[in-house]
């Protein structure tokens, strides 16, 4: 028997239908406004793709509408490994994810939105996950393009046809800010996903080269340019993490790490650390923009303050980005919002981004 985890966030997506821009903390309000759950239906649509191999599968799930009822309605064998509270909360998602992984699931199918993906990051889930898109906000490339595609991909993984995995960014926007019409995307962490193009790949810009191969080329180019005896501050993101991976270094995903001569000097620096290091020797900053809005600075990397930017200067900044990420901006500039107008102005204008081996694109940066 193959064990497959299934986790349904029953309130995901409810906020969208009643104009709430997300459901985080507002499930009750959404229900009051007449929103109906949509994630159970979407989970079922995904599960249908697994029906041909039903006899070989045991679905590990949480009881009730967090997974068990959806799987049982289609006739799957299930085992509830967690009993959630009623009504369910984000804490239930975290606890259920841990229980499912501990019970030995090979993969975890989960229905929700960016908030649900964040819960999996909190839970520290290490097995490959596949998101069934059901939430209002889908910015994280851990979700399949459609619920059916999530099921099809799970089937391929279970049959051993899709063995490669990769790390994907879990992004979320601050819903309170969004409701006030301010968009602010932040990187919350990474999840392991099957390396497959049916997962959301920076929206609209399909590429024949896998993200992993592009990351490897970008990392090689950057590594070639790193000078001996200089400090390199490596900012957050999967593209910059690929550089650390390429150098064989265990850095942080969300923090700023310091590298010198191929060695990790310090992890997770705060602004004061950074300023102190800059004073020690010639220092370069390596950044990658966030997906979606394309923030270069000011979202998820606030430790790289305006003061840091001014001390380093534009000529000590390297930007790494996949082509898809830059193409998805559709001509919009990358944004710098350090909160320091002088620093933002310093970064404004044209600069180069490394997009491959021996390859750069001219990018436009704008202070917000």
């Amino acid at each position: 028997m193959k064990k497959v985890g299934l986790l349904v966030n029953p309130v995901a997506g409810m906020g969208g239908s009643v104009g709430l821009k997300g459901t985080d903390g507002l499930a009750e309000e959404a229900a009051k406004r007449g929103a109906l759950p949509r994630s159970p239906k979407r989970a079922e649509a995904a599960l249908k793709a697994l029906l041909p191999m039903q006899d070989e599968l045991l679905i590990l799930c949480a009881s009730g509408d967090m997974g068990q009822s959806e799987a049982e309605s289609l006739g799957f064998d299930t085992e509830a490994v967690y009993a959630p509270a009623d009504p369910t909360t984000a804490a239930d998602t975290v606890a259920a994810a841990r229980a499912i992984e501990n019970a030995g699931a090979e993969i975890l199918l989960f229905a929700g939105g960016d908030g649900t993906a964040r819960n999996l990051v909190t839970a520290g889930v290490a097995i490959p996950v596949i998101g069934i898109p059901a939430g209002v906000k889908i910015h994280s490339p851990v979700y399949a393009v459609r619920p059916e595609a999530a099921g099809e991909l799970a089937a391929r993984v279970l049959k051993g046809e899709r063995k490669r995995t990769k790390q994907a960014e879990v992004m979320d926007i601050d819903e309170d800010a969004w409701r006030a019409d301010q968009v602010s995307t932040k990187l919350y962490g990474l999840l392991t996903v099957p390396d497959d193009r049916s997962l959301l790949q920076h929206g609209k810009a399909a590429s024949p080269a896998s993200e992993a191969s592009q990351h490897a080329l970008i990392a090689s180019e950057m590594a070639k340019r790193m000078k001996k005896g200089c400090y390199y501050l490596i900012g957050p993101g999967t593209t910059t993490k690929a550089l650390l991976d390429g150098l064989g270094l265990e850095g942080t995903v969300l923090g700023v790490d310091l590298v010198e001569d191929g060695k990790l000097v310090q992890k997770d620096l705060c602004e004061a650390d950074i300023l102190q290091r800059i004073a020690e020797r010639e220092t370069f900053l390596v950044l990658t923009p966030t997906g979606g809005q394309g923030f270069l600075l000011g979202r998820g990397n606030q430790q790289i303050s305006g003061e840091v930017v001014k001390r380093l200067g534009k000529d000590h900044l390297f930007v790494l980005a996949t082509k898809e990420k830059l193409f998805s901006l559709q001509g919009r500039p990358l944004l710098a919002d350090t909160g320091d107008l002088e620093a933002d102005a310093l970064l404004s204008g044209y600069m180069r981004a490394i997009t491959g081996l021996g390859e750069e694109q001219m990018i436009r940066v704008s202070g917000t």
């Binding site: 991909l153 391929r156 046809e161 899709r162 063995k163 490669r164 390396d195 497959d196 193009r197 049916s198 609209k204 810009a205 399909a206 590429s207 024949p208 080269a209 896998s210 191969s213 082509k323 898809e324 830059l326 193409f327 559709q330 001509g331 204008g349 044209y350 600069m351 180069r352 997009t355 021996g358 390859e359 750069e360 694109q361 001219m362 990018i363 436009r364």
Partner: protein
Amino acid sequence: MKKIDRSNPVRTGFHQAKWDEPVIFELSQPGERGVLVNKAEKAVCEATEGTAAIPEFMKRKQAPGLPEISQPRVLRHYARLAQETLGADVNIEIGQGTCTVKYSPKVNEQLANLPQMREMHPLQDESTAQGIMEIIYKTNQYFCEISGMDAFTMQPGGGSQAILGMASLVYSYFKSRGEDKQRNEIITTIYSHPSDAAAPHLKGYKIIYLHPDESGYPDFEAFKAAVNEHTAAFFVANPEDTGVYNRNVLKFTSYMHEHGGLCAYDQANANGLLGVTRAKEAGFDMCFFNLHKTFSAPHGCGGPACGAVGCADFLEEFLPAPIIRFDGEKYYYDYANAKNPYGMHKIREFNGAAQVVLKTYAWIRALGAEGLYQVAKTAVLNNNYLFKKLMELPVVDAPYIPGKQRIEQCRYTLEKLLEETGVGTADVQRRMMDFGMHYWTSHHPYYVPEPMTLEPTETPSKADLDEYIETLKYVFNEAYTDPEYLKAAPHSSVCHQLDESNMDDPEQWAVTWRAYLKKYQ
């Protein structure tokens, strides 16, 4: 008997042959044979000393694993495969945007197939090859006239090799000036053909891409920011595959020259420009044309290709050797460039695909200068008829300045169709095959969302254009009425949907039969 009804302009009854034909290696039967090869004549054996002249280490230890098949089975195999293609002779070739697939007059095929041409050898004495040498020489001159360049070579075997030739010219020029180490960057644009980046990169250049501005032109401010003391050249197509002609191109080439760089023109999209604009007046130092596209010699798998590279006089000494010249009495090979210490010397063996040059020569001679201009006018008219008709459809849009006239092709977007129906451009592409038609999206990664790139050339009649438009309309309508059926397309083609999900996984690739046997048997 019933009256034949042709009122439906859409070819709904189309169905392509599907033979489920095995790979030729699978057809092999030990001992089966197609032909008994005669022993070589005595004189040949004596001249070559049989196999004795081949060094021992080069001789095979075992016979090659070629398939053993009888003649009728071989014939059936390839005839079946031929029926499973959607070639230019059977479909209305509008859908392969940027490929300039036009009608290649059959009479030119016959010309190239004459024994005098077919049985020539590139190493035969030039006194016995005066005819084809004259044709190559004169074709070079026609291209000088068409482009304003001073010299041409027909040696490159295709467009990408021609771009490599241009990158080699750039390299030779700066090497001769001692600037080759310093000038190691080439600027190109997102919308230029991928080879405009790939070929210079192969030559060792760092590539810097420009994004388009809001008008669809390469962003001039980004260009100015990109140019520095490391810049060797600007490689660009104009029009790019958007069909938008950059009328400010002279600004770019002038700025590049002011900063010591060269300018190379990718003229793969020249079909709407013949007799209208020239590379020289646009400020370029070199350019290339695809004879197998713009100049009607068959395209792609239809035959060998030729990318003609032209340059200004100050670069001629770096062109590959030999160059064919005329001394007033006879044509001869000039190998002087092979001794140039900075030159590329060769980009391909001999003089390129001579039969392609012959077909081009015949085509140009048949049309004359005014005929070439008419080709451009008709191609632009056809494209703008298509553009206008398609832009009337609510699901079709084209980026940049609304309504701006395109040249010979256009990159549209079906983003609205996707938003409203879930049907994307890849779905439309597969469905068009059910009507015996090609349809092209874009180079990857997509820049225009849900792209559709169409290029009618001068070939199709108005009736052909209307059939293509009606078929597209039928498919767009189906996206609303029966999207699931559309997404499951093709239904009437050779292959139904393939699982592409593993195409980016090198672990699963098998690009030769031997690799396939190793991995999967």
